[in-house]
């Protein structure tokens, strides 16, 4: 059974490796950023599978952290790296 989980996680790792093509090719920054976001989701899957395969329940905490914090980089990308000025501004407190 552990072998099964390990095989699936290896498959997901291959998914990540194939997805690297999108980061390297682009063409635009948001494409790259989305791929990084997707790596986070895939990484969560790999960690959950490894926690079962290796018998380390702690890895669920690691997966939890990735799920919780995975979007921060994307939000920061939108707000700080790729700001778009708009006519209607956020109200200032």
């Amino acid at each position: 059974m552990n072998d099964f989980y390990l095989a699936v996680s290896a498959f997901l790792l291959v998914n990540i490796l194939v997805g690297l093509v999108r980061i390297l090719r682009g063409p635009t920054p948001p494409d790259r950023m989305l791929m990084a976001q997707m790596f986070g989701t895939t990484g969560v899957g790999i960690l959950l599978l490894l926690s079962e395969a290796m018998g380390l329940p702690v890895l669920r905490d690691v997966a939890l952290l990735f799920a919780l914090l995975g979007a921060l980089a994307t939000v920061s990308f939108v707000r700080r790296y790729w700001p778009v000025e708009f006519a209607e501004e956020e109200s200032k407190e």
């Binding site: 682009g26 063409p27 702690v58 905490d61 939000v75 707000r79 700080r80 708009f86 209607e88 956020e90």
Partner: protein, 270 residues
Amino acid sequence: MTSNKSPTTEPASTRRPKSSSGAAGVREFAAEIGFARVAFNLLVVLLLGLLFWTVLDLPPQSAGLHAKVKAHMHVSGVASPITAVLLNFRGYDTLLEIVVLLLASIGCLILRDAPQSHPALAPGRPGKWVLDGMIHVLIPVMLLTAGYLLWAGDHAPGGAFQAGAVLAAAGFLLVLGNRMRFWRTPEWLLRLSLSFGMIVFVLVASVVTILTKNLLQYPENYAGILILLIEISVAGSIGCVLITLFAGHPPVTRTPAADQLWHSNDEPKE
């Protein structure tokens, strides 16, 4: 297509040689870069070889300090060997790390008076609402996770550093969503929260050292509660330090683009 690098993502601050006038300068620059690249790759290969050699040179089985740690676990006050090593057996290491983090945040605060490199950036209203909703959902979960990691550090992987990092992530999210005006924090509060972990740690360390005549040797009965006290305060301070690194005004390199931003920042915005 003259170059194969994508024009959109080229950073504005890419250094150009001072004498770059025309194609000759560019070619010279490219040649320079090419040489640097070769040198860099050689260096990497060298270091990689060294690394491989070192790894191959390692003894196949090292005794480690497992046995020693295990033998002293009962006096450590915690159930997780990692926490025992970090905060009890080699507590002074952690103390010095806290000091290093505090120094980093001081370095960042020195630059506070520099003009901010970019204005508060706001995507349009829909984006704001969605981001606000995300913040409402995520911040409580993040605080809960930080508390959980702190609690888990006693008997399982986790602890002050991880909890502090999660706290800092919550702060980052608040700053990104314009929910926290970091630079409006009162000065005394900022200083206190940045140094609180170190203050508590040093206080505990000195009292304990005076009492037991040994550097950072906790009395056996109080080790658990002292470590918990240190962990809680240190986690909070680490979070504050990391938020300072992010929200404290970043230094600005003087590029034309940055200059333009400075001027656009000067104008009062309605």
